[in-house]
């Protein structure tokens, strides 16, 4: 085996993004199939027969704003206007909350800029009783289900009306009623829990399904594997959503993804149906979500979906992306803006206009401002009516044990 002595010195390969501050963004090697190109398979398709779908991108809206192809779906103009309204509302809400954060009224915030279609459109594919296990970047699931804005704000402000009594960080919402599992600050854990919830539904011969959510960077977490193994083994009625917005914090998707082309491909190791969709195309997201949800309901098991989108804003209010990526990248992003694209589509349908859009924008800003006034009248972080310190000791257990009663006394509450 003397050739070994001649074997070359090894080197560590560390993936790098195409573009850092100062570079000009270049998405030319990012293959984007034209809208309508990808066929829509039957619900009972064998995962292995749609292997290519993990390397393509399902798109419905073409450049002209027409909905084309087998995934065009059956959303009515009213549905579409509602969807547009949800995305606009989420964007307005985010903008106001970011400002409030800068004013010190909120400790921490993370927005959805550019990703609004994913959570807003997905929500419309669910039924009452279905459960999402979201990350901190799926507030559209609540907005689209009509969750009161003032409650979201009360939590972000951590005021006396905070439904979570000041215990949780901003944006880590919780609402069983709205099918929104309590958001964890720990990445990946909830992706696995969604599979367990879905298994429970199957064990109970129920008809409800679960939806797990995870970011591109977080797919590297170990619990991603546990989720895939359990979903695959027990064929759980769950939709597993990977939101690929290209970046973790300062870390580009290539570090989590490694040597494979897409995140959707992860499903191939488990025989799970895996598809990739244009995350900035409201119609495509809805159609794909509906397809996956119907598969789960029909007993065909889990579907893994990668939403291809882009995080236009900073990772969070604590982050400054200009240090690690080019400011021009967002503008160069080839899949456009979800709100603009749906707006154009509605206009081409003759169901919407610039005037109505401007008016809707104004109405939504009023609506958010009103909710904000209401919430701020109660209090904001550190000023006005605050959650009580007593609440700090409640709900650790259903019944307060002696040591906590003693500690609460010691604390003087």
């Amino acid at each position: 085996m003397s050739d070994g002595d001649r074997s070359p010195a090894l080197t560590l390969k560390v993936p790098e993004p195409g573009c850092r501050p100062g570079d000009t963004p270049d998405f030319s090697d990012f293959e984007i199939p034209r809208a309508g190109a990808v066929p829509r398979p039957p619900l009972d398709v064998a995962p292995d027969d749609i292997r290519d779908m993990a390397f393509s991108i399902i798109r419905v809206l073409n450049k002209e704003g027409h909905a084309v192809g087998e995934w065009a779906g059956d959303l009515t103009p009213d549905d579409l206007r509602a969807g547009l309204r949800h995305m606009m509302l989420l964007r307005v809400f985010d903008a106001r909350m970011l400002t409030a954060q800068r004013q010190g009224k909120v400790t921490f915030y993370a927005q959805h800029l550019g990703e609004e279609a994913v959570s807003c459109a997905f929500r419309q594919a669910l039924k009452p009783g279905d459960m999402n296990f979201p990350t901190y970047r799926q507030a559209g699931l609540l907005i689209a289900s009509g969750f009161p804005l003032s409650e979201l704000m009360n939590q972000n402000y951590g005021n006396a009306a905070d439904p979570l009594k000041g215990r949780q960080l901003p944006i880590c919402y919780s609402s069983k009623e709205h099918g929104f599992f309590t958001v964890s600050g720990n990445l990946g854990t909830q992706f696995l829990q969604s599979v367990g919830w879905a298994m429970a539904s199957a064990i109970s011969n129920d008809t409800k399904i679960a939806a797990g959510w995870i970011g591109d960077g977080s797919t590297a977490e170990n619990d991603f594997h546990a989720a895939m193994v359990f979903a695959s083994t027990y064929s759980a009625p769950v939709v597993l959503n990977i939101v690929n917005n290209q970046w973790a914090i300062s870390t580009f998707q290539g570090i989590a993804r490694g040597g494979v082309g897409t995140f959707a491909a992860r499903g191939h190791g488990f025989g799970i149906a895996s598809i990739r969709v244009d995350g900035n195309d409201y119609l495509a997201v809805h159609a794909v979500a509906k397809w996956a949800a119907d598969r789960a309901r029909a007993g065909h098991g889990p579907t893994l979906i990668e939403y291809v989108t882009y995080r236009v804003g900073a990772h969070s209010s604590s982050d400054d992306p200009s240090v690690y990526r080019s400011g021009d990248e967002a503008a160069a992003w080839p899949l456009g803006d979800p709100i603009e694209r749906l707006k154009t589509h509605l206009i081409t349908l003759g169901e919407w206009s610039e005037e109505r859009h401007a008016q809707a924008q104004a109405e939504l800003e009023d609506e958010v401002r009103a909710a904000q006034r209401e919430a701020e009248a109660i209090g904001t972080m550190g000023s006005g009516a605050q959650p009580s310190a007593r609440d700090m000791f409640e709900d650790v257990y259903a019944e307060m044990p002696p040591h906590l009663i003693a500690q609460r006394r010691e604390a003087g509450y």
């Binding site: 296990f133 069983k176 829990q193 170990n222 002696p402």
Partner: protein, 337 residues
Amino acid sequence: MAQMTMIEAIRDAHDTAMEADPRVVVFGEDVGFFGGVFRCTAGLQAKYGKSRCFDAPINESGIVGAAIGMAAYGLRPVVEIQFADYVLPAYDQIASEAARLRYRSNGDFTCPLVIRMPTGGGIFGGQTHSQSPEAIFTHVSGLKVVIPSNPRDAKGLLLASIEDPDPVIFLEPKRLYNGPFDGHHDRPLTSWKGHALGDVPEGGETIPLGQAEVRRAGRDVTVLAYGTMVYVAEAAAEAAGVEAEIIDLRTLVPLDLETIAASVKKTGRCVIVHEATRISGFGGELMSQVQEACFYHLEAPIARVTGWDTPYPHTQEWEYFPGPARVAEALKRVMED
């Protein structure tokens, strides 16, 4: 009443709970068809079907994380971790998730979940079949930690844990599965047959969590023990000829400080024993709470007898295991102090 081993009592508790409540589901590595490597779930799959008792992939985080999702849905999962040594991959799901659902969602989501696991040494299991990780669970707010020392308590406490609305870590001293063990490894094995605590009530009677039991009354010194060490303490008290009051804690969190303090205030002396390593073991917490509650009654330093601060060795099992000789020595020392 029926005579049972601890294994039979645990199986019976599962059976009773599954019979009474369709929400109770049981899974873990090898627990389904086979009934668990210690046979604690034998027969459950045959009786209740594969969707209520099944084998899980070898992924402890997956087992606990999936169970958390099931509990949030409304089921009452009871999962087995094959050995307590293997629970660490699930520690994040337990401490960051199960323990906090209720708190962070203001009661909107809860986690009625029981995580069972064989714990402790004395079986020549070496580094990975002998450890006692109770301390790292007692440090997590939102968890309850239970450890029975006999068949009767095993059934009653397991039933109470399954009914509990919050996550419970249920530690089963594997050296006690088939009989009490007092650390005298050179003597013949004893079984639960004929042992008073081997008499297990039929039906759904629970033993409330948070209540210690005085196993042996005495006026000289209070011994705080749990699991296998309860019997080691009894043997040591015998050997030392000390009137020890031996308290079987049974639940570590919430702790029955009342029973403990009452005893120490009476005896003025306290010895704490556990198998786990010493530094930051639960003995440190016990010693602190006794010191805080009984300082002015103490006539001697509180002592602890524990596993050494090394990984659990293999051939040196009996030099490592805190046996009756070491405990007796400690009892004599605190009596002299």
